[in-house]
Amino acid sequence: MKKQIVYLALAAVVRVASAGPDQERVQALEETVAALRQDVVALQDQSRQKRTGIHNPDISAAVDAIASYSDAAGTLNFTARDVELMVQANADPFAKAYVVFNAESELEPTETSNPFGEASLGMEEAAIQTTALPYGLAVKAGAYFADFTRLGRVHSHDLPFTDRPVSLEQVLGGEDKARGVELTWLPPLDHYVRFTAGVVDDIGAETAVNGTLATADGEEVDAFAAEEKRALDAAMLYGRLATMLDLGPGAVLHLGADAAQGGNAGTRTLASTDFKLEWKPVAGGNRLFELAAEWLTSKADGTLAEAAVIEGGPRDASAEVSGGYVYAQYRMTPIWQPGVRFDLTEPEWFEAGEAGLVKVDDSRQTVSAYLNAHLSEFNRLRAQVNVVSGDSEIANGQDTDTQVFLQWTVMLGAHKHDFIP
């Protein structure tokens, strides 16, 4: 097509060059140029339409390679932690859907990984979302990361640091994995507020997060028995209220509060509150300062599982654990971004009838420093050091550990920037 246009142009030039007076030739040339410009524009418009893959979903992938070393355990591990494939597209004018496949290996610096082990491929998320509901409403259903807490809904490779904070692991169960249905509502106010409510089978990558008991022979068992059938009242209900405040031309404050109750293995009651401050210097290019914190608490009540019942002991019990983190990071140049983090998990307390209050798990504190090198928007190197301390053994009889991580994360394919309150 381009060749045809060039031939047409040459022919037109030859034709007008052999014509009469200068004025006519100039006019003819102007008409030809105008016609050619229209052709070029039409071609470009057609080209643009062809490039939007309306029948093919967007596909993206993340590869997250990590080397970890634990001083206490003396272990060096190489992990492809989070190999993720995401497919998403609009289904029709009313809904879109996405699926996330994940071949995930656990990041456990104090354990020796199996060099011949294979990550298991699984479906991390598969959800349908409405796109055309009125009154600021949207519904999501399927398996998804619930809109619950600040970092629980973030995929591992997108975390600001290499490892997920221990507090999130212990209190929430890691990521906000859930299966169910979620409704969000944006009321028509001048001030930005978002309400979320959902009903799911449970929240968390680990279904029985708190209430792990050590029996007399040292074996760890789940304190609360999972019911064989899920009763209607065992579904977990959750909600989140999120708002954001403009604090001047380059600063935004995010605030959030969450609550959840339900569960099939004891009744879990979760609550959390969080904030995040973003400050971008005016005319500062890539520069961005972030300060964020979150505090979570979880309580589980229920009937003890058979394995957890001590002969003659109580049948009902409750377990409670709290924890949180705070981090700050600064993107000082397009490439460099240092950060620090403090993470605290309080001891888990277990109350079992007349047996009284018993501490069943140790507290854990982690102080971290990390440095990101953003080679491009899709290619990031990270070095992180954790200094971990606790009430009990972390590895090899030591209650402190220094852990070092080197992480290389690459994103492939389509990407988008969601608005996350």
């Binding site: 410009r37 070029v40 524009v41 470009q44 418009d45 080209s47 643009r48 490039r51 055309a132 509901l133 009125p134 009154y135 600021g136 409403l137 949207a138 944006l186 009321p187 028509p188 106010l189 001048d190 001030h191 930005y192 708002t243 954001m244 405040l245 403009d246 031309p249 380059g250 935004v252 973003e278 971008k280 005016v282 005319a283 500062g284 290019g285 890539n286 961005l288 140049t333 397009p334 490439i335 080679l375 491009s376 928007e377 899709f378 988008k416 920037h417 969601d418 608005f419 309150p421």
Partner: protein, 298 residues
């Protein structure tokens, strides 16, 4: 029977969302907001998502942007993926179906604009390429005239009663632009300006004013330069007689200063959007500032 309390609540919420008056227009950039104001006059109220001070590739998404979009009748973007870092996320969160891509209240202002720099292949080995071509057409006032006409047509579509006013305002503004383009070309004529910039922002500006773009400090889009890339750029500048280093106002002057000092080229800082620097308060003022900086008239 309907619960009266429920009915009142629904009524209050609906009334919060409803507002009579001029057409509510939200634009991605202040350049577009200026065009809308010139064309729409008193018949529109217009707000821009970004201030002009920020790199449009790195915009901090703010809650006020969502509420702004939630009530808009029309959203106008530069197009060509210029706003891919913030507009799609904000539009989705606004849940305003009237202004989503494809809806009547959405306008890609770049429609019909001849595009430069359309990549032959879409491979991120070439950097963070814009799949549809270079999106910085706003720095070419000739192409801006096409966007102004696009805006006039869209405003007329949404507010047919004032269509004649929109068309007349657009033609008046385009005539003003034509007069200024003649003046700007006269100021740059014969200057033999050969320049490098930080990012490929000035391809359209160079074409409009017959300037020579020698290269960019970023060796590929979105990639910071290493020592080898810097050395290659300076060698090319020497070979091709580059005499100007242009730093976009939001980029660090670290690399531009080095390049200018080692090559002897003149270094200037310029806006690439309306609002990008003090004094660049309108589109014409912004282009005038650019012409002054390139011509060395300061």
């Amino acid at each position: 029977m309907t619960n009266p309390v429920f009915g009142i609540c629904v009524g209050v919420l609906l009334s919060l969302g409803a507002q009579a008056g001029p057409l509510r227009v939200v634009t991605a950039t202040r350049d577009l907001a200026d065009f809308v104001q010139q064309v729409g006059g008193e018949h529109v109220s217009v707000q821009s998502l970004v201030s002009g001070l920020d790199d449009t590739h790195n915009v901090l998404m703010k809650p006020s942007m969502v509420t702004m979009l939630a009530r808009a009748d029309l959203f106008i973007e530069m197009g060509l993926d210029m706003e891919h870092g913030y507009a799609p996320g904000l539009l989705a969160e606004s849940r305003n179906h009237a202004i989503q891509p494809g809806a009547p209240g959405f306008l890609d202002a770049s429609r019909g604009i001849p595009v430069l720099g359309v990549p032959g292949s879409l491979d991120r080995g070439e950097g963070d390429v814009h799949a549809q071509g270079n999106p910085h057409w706003n720095l070419d006032p000739e192409r801006a005239k096409i966007a102004v006409r696009n805006i006039a047509a869209k405003l007329a579509e949404l507010d047919s009663a004032d269509a004649a006013a929109f068309a007349a305002n657009a033609e008046r503004y385009i005539a003003e632009l034509d007069a200024r383009i003649r003046e700007w070309r006269a100021r740059l004529d014969g200057k033999d300006i050969r320049f490098v910039s930080y990012h490929a922002h000035f391809a359209y500006f160079a074409q409009c004013f017959a300037l020579k773009e020698v290269g960019t400090i970023q060796p590929k889009a979105g990639i910071e330069p290493g020592p080898r890339a810097m050395a290659e750029l300076m060698a090319r500048m020497s070979r091709e007689g580059a005499n100007l280093v242009v730093r976009e106002s939001f980029f660090s002057d670290r690399y531009p200063k080095v390049v200018a000092q080692r090559t002897g080229a003149r270094l200037v800082a310029v806006p690439i959007q309306v609002g990008g620097m003090p004094g660049a308060d309108t589109y014409i003022a912004m282009i005038d500032m650019l012409v002054t900086a390139f011509a060395g008239d300061q």
